[in-house]
C-alpha cells in the first residue's frame, strides 16, 4: 500500500464524484435532443445537488437511525468501489483490498441500506420500493457473479488489476466470444442495477411504477442530495467497470501524472460513449412490466452462463 497508490485511489474517488452528475446531465441532454427538446444544461445535476445541500433536512416520525445513516452508507460504499475499480491506473492501492466479488457485495450493501431506509418510514410506497429493489438485486446477483466467473477463468484471478492487465497484454481477448457474452450480460445487469429503462424509469412521477424513486420519497435536502449523488456514482461505477474490464486501453499502468491525465481522458471518452448509447437506446424502448424483469435477468444470466462455458471450452 504505497503512498502513490493511495493518492491514485483518492484521485479516482474525487474524479468520479465530480464527473458522475455531469455524465447524468449529459444523458438527460441526449435524451432531450432525441425527443426534440433542448433540455437542461449538462451541469444541471450539480446545480440540483448544490441546491439540495442548502435546503432543509426533514426526518419524519417513526424513522430511526437507519433512515439517517443509509445515505451515508450508500454513498460511502459507492465511493469505495470507485476507489477500487481501476479507472485511471492499475496501481490503485485498493486493488488488493477488494476484488470483483468485494465490489459486488459492497454495492449490495448500499442497496440493502437504502431498502431498509425505504421500510423505515412505514409508508406503503417506501415498502413497495424496497421490496422491488431487493427482488431485482437478488435475481441480478447470479448474473453478476457468473459473469465475474467468466472473466476470471481466462485470467485466473478475480482481481480487477489482474484482469485489466491481462486484457491489455492479450488484446485479442476483448473480441473473444466469452468476453463479448460476459459484456452483454453485465450490460443488462448494469441497466437493472442502476434503475434505467427498461427495468425502472428514473424520471417517473407515478408511484406505482417506481422502484428506486419509491424508496427515496421520504428523503429531503442534504439527505436527498447524498442519495442522488450515490445513484449517479453507482451509474458511473458500473459503466466504468464495463468500460475498463472489456476495453482497458488508455489506462495507466503507472502512477505518473501525465499517464494519469491521459487515462482520465480515455476513461472519460469511454464513459461518454457508453452513457450516450444507453441514453439513446432509452428513447426507443419502453419500460417492461415488473414481472417481466425476471425474464430479462434470466436472459442476462444465460449470457453470463454461456460466457463461462465458452471461456472454458472454446479457448
Amino acid at each position: 500500500m504505497s503512498p502513490t497508490g493511495i493518492a491514485v485511489a483518492v484521485l479516482q474517488v474525487i474524479l468520479t464524484i465530480a464527473v458522475a452528475p455531469l455524465l447524468v446531465g449529459m444523458m438527460r441532454v441526449i435524451r432531450a435532443r432525441l425527443e426534440g427538446r433542448v433540455g437542461a444544461p449538462i451541469r444541471q445535476p450539480w446545480r440540483d445537488l448544490r441546491k439540495l445541500l442548502r435546503k432543509q433536512r426533514m426526518v419524519s416520525q417513526n424513522t430511526g437511525v437507519v433512515f439517517s445513516i443509509a445515505p451515508l452508507v450508500l454513498l460511502a460504499s459507492a465511493a469505495l468501489v470507485a476507489g477500487i475499480v481501476p479507472f485511471l491506473s492499475t496501481t490503485s492501492a485498493l486493488d488488493q483490498v477488494g476484488d470483483l466479488f468485494a465490489i459486488v457485495y459492497l454495492l449490495l450493501l448500499g442497496t440493502v441500506f437504502l431498502s431498509l431506509a425505504g421500510l423505515d418510514a412505514g409508508t406503503a410506497f417506501g415498502g413497495m420500493g424496497s421490496s422491488r429493489e431487493m427482488t431485482i438485486a437478488a435475481i441480478a446477483e447470479p448474473t453478476l457473479l457468473v459473469a465475474i466467473f467468466a472473466l476470471s477463468v481466462s485470467t485466473g484471478s478475480s482481481n480487477l488489476g489482474a484482469i485489466v492487465a491481462d486484457t491489455l497484454a492479450n488484446p485479442s481477448k476483448a473480441a473473444s466470444p466469452a468476453s463479448m457474452l460476459a459484456f452483454s450480460a453485465l450490460a443488462v445487469v448494469t441497466i437493472a442495477e442502476t434503475g434505467r429503462i427498461p427495468v425502472d424509469n428514473p424520471s417517473t412521477h407515478l408511484e406505482l411504477t417506481m422502484i428506486h424513486e419509491a424508496m427515496i420519497l421520504e428523503y429531503s435536502g442534504p439527505d436527498l442530495a447524498l442519495v442522488e449523488l450515490a445513484a449517479h456514482l453507482r451509474l458511473v461505477v458500473f459503466l466504468g467497470l464495463l468500460a475498463n474490464l472489456f476495453f482497458p486501453w488508455g489506462i495507466a499502468t503507472t502512477a505518473q501524472p501525465l499517464h494519469l491525465l491521459a487515462a482520465a481522458g480515455a476513461v472519460t471518452v469511454k464513459l461518454i460513449v457508453l452513457a450516450a448509447v444507453i441514453a439513446a437506446a432509452e428513447v426507443f424502448i419502453a419500460k417492461v412490466r415488473l414481472f417481466r424483469v425476471p425474464e430479462l435477468l434470466a436472459a442476462s444470466f444465460v449470457l453470463a452462463f454461456l460466457a463461462v462455458t465458452v471461456s472454458f471450452f472454446l479457448v
Binding site: 485479442s172 473480441a175 473473444s176 466470444p177 463479448m180 457474452l181 425476471p294 425474464e295 434470466a298 436472459a299 444470466f301 444465460v302 449470457l303 452462463f305 454461456l306 462455458t309 465458452v310 471450452f313 472454446l314
Partner: protein, 219 residues
C-alpha cells in the same frame, strides 16, 4: 487468413448461432423470433464461409452462399408468411415460462459440452472444439419443438434443429458432398412443412384453399 484470426471468426460465428437460439427462446413476438432465426441462418452460412475461406475450398464457399440464401432468406421468408397468415395471437405461447426455458437451455448447453468432451479431446482443431455448440443448438431446437404450442414455432424449432445439424456437419466433417446432400434434402423437407402449415392456416381462416376463394384474397 491467420490461424488465430480464423479461430476468432469461427468462434464468433458459431457463438452467434448459439446465442440466436437462446434469443429465439427468450423473445415473445413471433415476427421477431423469425428474424432471429434468419440471423441464425446467416451466422451458419458465415461459419461455412469462414471454414471455406480458411481451407481454400471453393465448394464450401458456394455452399455457404447457398445456405445463407436458403436459411437466411427463403425459409424465414416462408415462415414469416405463415406467421402473417395466422390469427391475431402473435405472441409465443409456451408450456413452460421463459426463465425456465432459458435455464433449461443453458443446462442443455452444459450437457452438450459434457458429452462431447471425449470427441473434442481426440482432435483439437478449432472446428472440433466448437462442435459442442452445434450439439447445443440441436438440443435447444428440440426444446423449442417440445415446449411450444404453435405449429409455426415448432417449424422454427425444426429449422433450428436443422441448423444445429448443419453446424455439426460443417464443423465435424470435411466431406463436402455429404453436407450438401443432407442439407438440401432437409431444406426441401422443411419447405414442405412450412407450406403445409401455411395452407392449413389459410384453410382455417378462409375455409379452404379453394383457388377461386384464394383469388378473392388477392383482390
Amino acid at each position: 487468413m491467420s490461424t488465430t484470426r480464423f479461430v476468432q471468426l469461427l468462434d464468433l460465428a458459431a457463438g452467434l448461432v448459439l446465442v440466436t437460439s437462446f434469443a429465439a427462446l427468450w423473445l415473445r413476438r413471433l415476427v421477431t423470433v423469425t428474424w432471429v432465426i434468419a440471423l441464425q441462418g446467416v451466422a451458419l452460412a458465415a461459419v461455412a464461409l469462414v471454414i471455406g475461406a480458411y481451407e481454400h475450398e471453393t465448394e464450401l464457399v458456394l455452399i455457404a452462399l447457398m445456405v445463407g440464401v436458403l436459411r437466411g432468406v427463403v425459409l424465414p421468408g416462408l415462415i414469416l408468411r405463415a406467421v402473417r397468415a395466422g390469427d391475431e395471437h402473435r405472441e409465443v405461447e409456451s408450456l413452460i415460462n421463459v426463465p425456465a426455458a432459458l435455464l433449461a437451455a443453458s443446462g442443455l448447453t452444459l450437457v452438450a459440452y459434457a458429452t462431447t468432451r471425449d470427441v473434442v479431446a481426440l482432435s483439437s482443431t478449432p472446428q472440433v472444439r466448437a462442435l459442442p455448440l452445434g450439439i447445443a443448438v440441436m438440443l435447444i431446437g428440440m426444446l423449442l419443438i417440445v415446449t411450444r404450442r404453435k405449429a409455426v414455432l415448432q417449424i422454427m424449432g425444426v429449422l433450428m434443429l436443422d441448423n444445429g445439424i448443419a453446424l455439426v456437419m460443417f464443423l465435424g466433417t470435411s466431406g463436402v458432398p455429404l453436407a450438401v446432400e443432407l442439407g438440401i434434402a432437409s431444406d426441401v423437407l422443411l419447405a414442405m412443412f412450412i407450406l403445409q402449415v401455411l395452407t392449413t392456416r389459410i384453410r382455417t381462416k378462409f375455409g379452404g384453399t379453394d383457388l377461386d376463394q384464394l383469388r378473392e384474397l388477392r383482390d
